[in-house]
């Protein structure tokens, strides 16, 4: 499947009423998010959480920011797909205006993005926002 938009994801997830289907959906989303090549996973791109690792590759294309991301854990990879759906190929201003906490709350997944979870997601979001500020 192609990666849906953030609005579509909110709609899709609202449709499921048990956690198993929701997690299965997130895992499947992760499968739709392309993996990085091994040589792209350089130490500078690594955000090491204490439970899992994520890598983030950034590029700027005609004023829009593009991200590729990968994780060694499949649920984190799926959560990255959620983040990518929100941020990818948007202008810096669109990125800064996006309410990421509200988004995760709407998805009922806020406990995954909280700073207390050492999965690196929070740092990825921080990196993306910093880059958006620098390019805005």
């Amino acid at each position: 499947m192609a990666l849906p938009s953030s609005e579509e994801i909110i709609e899709d997830l609202a449709f499921f009423d048990d956690w198993e289907q929701r997690y299965q959906y997130i895992i499947d989303l992760g499968k739709a998010l392309p993996r990085l090549q091994d040589e792209q996973k350089t130490p500078e791109r690594l955000v090491k959480g204490c439970q899992s690792s994520v890598w983030l590759v950034t590029s700027v294309n005609e004023g829009k920011l593009h991200f590729d991301a990968d994780s060694d854990a499949v649920i984190v990879h799926g959560l990255l797909a959620l983040v990518m759906a929100a941020y990818n190929d948007k202008t810096p201003q669109q990125i800064l205006d996006f309410d990421i906490d509200g988004y995760f709350e709407a998805l009922d997944l806020e406990r995954h993005i909280s700073p207390t979870r050492g999965n690196g997601l929070r740092s990825i979001v921080g990196k993306i926002q910093t880059l958006a500020k620098q390019t805005a």
Partner: protein, 405 residues
């Protein structure tokens, strides 16, 4: 006496709660244990009836607070069979206790001296000594383990010699569950008159620690892994060693006389306890050792053995599950990796089923590297866990496995 796990569980209010609508199955006991009502009551009673600073008040509350606080020291001294109450130093936890010793040692070490640790250390019992060696020019020697997580005792022994000043190792490994033969290891180190520190963070709740019998010089543990509060721990030290151990922190409580330009230190134990201590924490820990000490230890150990044995046995039937740490002498801890499933993913899916475990490097990165893995999922058991919970853990694990397939 015998052991009725349901009666014990009933004393832990937190264990009856639900997580996302499912009964909590708490299998993260190596990280911290839950607290029985007796400990909660002791904290509550302190704050509602006698809160005051200790050793300095000229009033009744302070007298009572000091009495309870120093009684807790007696309770701990009796619990670990210290020679005297002055050998019990309150710390913030295992980490602070090891730091107190390592900072003192760093002042005495010279180039050519050696400190011996093992490959199975928690960062708290590794980085401390590593930094003491870096500061002093001494050499850190790391005794290897076998692939099953057992210490290679022959090589350990060969690392000891006349230059060995300190030997430090865990009573029980937090990542592997390996139970080390503490008395034997101490005896080997003592042939060379080396000091010995035992990291008791995971060993203390296994029960039956008798510091005189072990023969070590220091034994450090945390209250929160022994059914007590966080923020309080104990460094037990042999009096002859502690008496002139370099002070680490200075300030109030620990001094004898002070002028603007100089100070002299008070007597044990206060000389190593600068500042207002964690009074309520110490009293809570006193209550915890009193509570734990009232149980039938042999029955508790038999129960814990049944839990880990059931877990090890069931693990064999899970395809693609590899246990990390299979030493013959092992307690309480089931660390594992799965083919095709990352520990973090397993943790997420168990969490959604009410099962709390730890995932990650277990605060032992060099050990993970040594074993060629990034981390593990770890279920750790305590005396209030049941065989039904072990079964439920495996049901939850199978579900994780099928979802992640």
């Amino acid at each position: 006496m015998s052991f009725d796990v349901q009666a014990v569980r009933a004393q832990f209010p937190i264990l009856s709660q639900q997580v996302d609508g499912k009964p909590l199955i708490y299998l993260d006991n190596a990280a911290t244990t839950q607290k029985p009502q007796a400990v909660i009551d002791a904290l509550m009673s302190f704050y509602t009836q006698t809160n005051a600073n200790v050793h300095r008040g000229a009033h009744k509350l302070s007298d009572e607070a000091t009495r309870r606080y120093e009684k807790a020291r007696d309770q701990v001294a009796a619990f670990i069979n210290a020679n005297s109450r002055e050998e019990v130093i309150w710390t913030a936890g295992t980490t602070e206790g090891i730091n107190l010793v390592a900072h003192g040692l760093a002042k005495q070490l010279e180039a050519g001296d050696e400190v011996v640790v093992t490959e199975m250390e928690h960062h708290a019992n590794l980085v401390t000594w590593q930094q003491a060696c870096i500061q002093s020019g001494a050499t850190l020697r790391v005794a290897p383990i076998f692939d099953n997580g057992e210490l290679d005792i022959e090589t350990f022994q060969s690392y000891l010699g006349p230059n060995t000043r300190m030997v430090a190792f865990p009573h029980v490994s937090n990542a592997l569950g390996t139970l080390n033969p503490v008395k034997d290891l101490v005896a080997m180190a003592k042939r060379y008159d080396a000091l010995v520190l035992v990291d008791g963070a995971q060993g203390i709740a296994h029960g039956g620690v008798d510091v005189q019998d072990l023969g070590c010089d220091f034994y450090a543990f945390s209250g929160h892994k022994l059914f007590g509060p966080t923020g309080i721990g104990v460094l037990w030290g042999r009096r002859s060693v502690l008496e002139d151990w370099p002070v680490w922190m200075t300030g109030g409580e620990m001094i004898a006389e002070v002028s603007y330009q100089s100070a002299s230190w008070g007597a044990l134990p206060l000389r190593l306890e600068a500042g207002t201590p964690h009074i309520a924490g110490a009293i809570g820990l006193g209550a915890a050792v009193e509570w734990f000490g009232s149980l039938d230890l042999a029955a508790v150990q038999a129960h814990e053995k049944a839990l880990i044995e059931s877990a090890m046995l069931q693990a064999r039937n899970i395809e693609g599950m590899r246990l990390i740490g299979t030493a013959p002498n092992k307690v309480g801890i089931l660390s594992f990796v799965m083919d095709n499933a990352h520990p973090a993913d397993i943790g997420f899916i168990l969490d959604r089923q009410g099962v709390a475990i730890r995932t990650g490097d277990n605060c032992a990165q060099p050990l993970m590297n040594r074993l060629g893995i990034n981390g593990t999922a770890r279920a750790s058991f305590s005396l209030y866990n049941t065989l039904d919970e072990v079964d439920a853990f495996f049901v939850a694990l199978r579900k994780a496995q099928s979802m992640l397939a």
